[in-house]
């Protein structure tokens, strides 16, 4: 397998990173990189970690890692998943910005500990912390419940001062979204991108055919996260199998982006011809600048979510037989 890191591997131009992926030769992973400068979204690091775990430390190799900013890979803990030593010398004790290095979470106890430990690392103000906890909590929970990933959820995050944004990546090497929806929703899972969009639809859970979910799952998690990204005018992306769905930035002239029930109605890009990734990668940028209170946002999402269920219910009403 091969991946090439560039000077700007953020969600805006994630297609470049995807085009560099080569999953042939699945027993080894070679990471190529720009010789002078590297900028990577934490989601890229979680993807590399998932691939590195799959092939095993001794089969992971960095080719030509010469960029001085490559020390970021070390700081985020990527070299813990390779046998190759880091060429960088960093003082890990020094205060070095607001980030959560790569973590692996295997159960709900580890999840709770991670969520309580991460906020001090990001130095978030209290009024912003809950939205970040909410997002990471729901995404990790999705992996633990649905992905059947032996190695658990791989998580990393970084605060970017210039954009005042937290960028988060969560990856697993589990069964992928399509397989987790196949049992109950075969007609909506012809392709990976179909399955991803179905998973984003409110009230649809991979654990039941019943709309509104079971006692354990409502089928609301991903819809809520996508909606939070949309209102905050941020990127949100899911990559699973050969499918990629990316919510694009919303026009800033619109006062408040309208939440959509159908992911096809959101301004987005999609493809179903990406190199096949066995697992799921979710990436989100959360802006801390937006003035929408988290409670206000939850209220808007509730309205759209409940309307969606009501509308679907209406579609099942029997019609009078006019003869």
């Amino acid at each position: 397998m091969k991946i090439t890191l560039s000077t700007s591997d953020y969600l805006r131009n994630f297609e470049r990173l995807i085009s560099s992926l080569d999953f042939s030769e699945p027993d080894q992973l070679t990471i190529y990189s720009h010789p002078k400068w590297l900028n990577v979204h934490p989601a890229v690091l979680t993807l590399i970690t998932a691939l590195a775990i799959k092939v095993g430390k001794s089969h992971v190799k960095f080719a030509d890692l010469t960029a001085s900013s490559g020390s970021y890979l070390d700081r985020m803990g990527l070299f813990n998943y390779t046998a190759q030593q880091s060429p960088y010398k960093i003082n890990k004790k020094e205060a070095a910005g607001r980030f959560i290095p790569i973590h692996i979470i295997k159960n709900s106890t580890e999840q709770s500990k991670f969520i309580s430990d991460m906020i001090p690392l990001l130095h978030l103000p209290a009024d912003k912390a809950d939205a970040v906890k909410y997002t990471i909590g729901e995404l990790i929970r999705n992996v633990l419940e649905h992905a059947r990933a032996k190695e658990g959820a791989i998580v990393a995050a970084q605060y970017y001062k210039k954009s005042n944004t937290i960028r988060i990546g969560i990856c697993d090497s589990g069964i992928g979204i399509r397989s987790s929806f196949l049992q109950f929703w075969p007609s909506h899972t012809d392709t990976d991108i179909d399955a991803i969009k179905w998973a984003l639809t409110p009230g649809i859970s991979g654990t039941t055919r019943k709309e509104g979910g079971t006692e354990e799952n409502a089928g609301a998690g991903l819809f809520f996260i996508k909606s939070m990204a949309k209102v905050a005018r941020n990127y949100f992306m899911i990559y699973s199998g050969t499918g990629i769905y990316k919510l694009l930035l919303h026009d800033k002239r619109t006062e408040r982006p309208r939440l959509q029930v159908n992911p096809n109605d959101d301004r987005h890009s999609e493809r179903n011809d990406a190199p096949y990734f066995q697992g799921t990668l979710v990436a989100i940028d959360l802006s801390l600048d937006n003035n929408v209170e988290f409670t206000e946002l939850l209220a808007s999402i509730r309205e759209v979510y409940s309307n969606a269920i009501r509308e679907r219910k209406k579609r099942k009403y029997k019609q009078p037989k006019f003869i």
Binding site: D130, G137, R141, N217, A218, K313, K316
Partner: protein
């Protein structure tokens, strides 16, 4: 009528997201109390926020199982605005889906 009080923070810490804990509370405390016709007070003192999946795991089944009795007998105390919004969300869609089940 005697009411059982469950202090959520004792089980979850200040951010209630652990669905396994929600499930435990539901099975061990909420459903038995509602089965006996008792009221249940869920006290969120010290909990700043929660997730939809936590609240769903806590109260969706009781609402589905006991219907109006659950809606009448469950009370929520010391909720932050975020906790209130999430509970309101689960109430709304559960009642929508209850009606749905009645009709299908």
């Amino acid at each position: 009528m005697k009411k059982a009080t469950i202090t959520i923070e004792k089980h979850t810490g200040s951010f209630a997201e652990n669905k396994d804990k929600a499930k435990q509370l539901r099975i061990r405390h909420i459903i038995p109390a509602l089965s006996e016709g008792k009221g249940v007070i869920l006290d969120f003192a010290g909990v700043s926020g929660t997730t939809q999946s936590f609240i769903h795991a806590l109260i969706a089944q009781p609402i589905r199982q006991f219907g109006d009795n659950a809606l009448e007998n469950l009370e929520y105390k010391n909720c932050s605005d975020i906790v209130k919004e999430v509970i309101k969300t689960v109430y709304e869609y559960m009642q929508e889906s209850l009606n749905n089940e009645d009709e299908t």
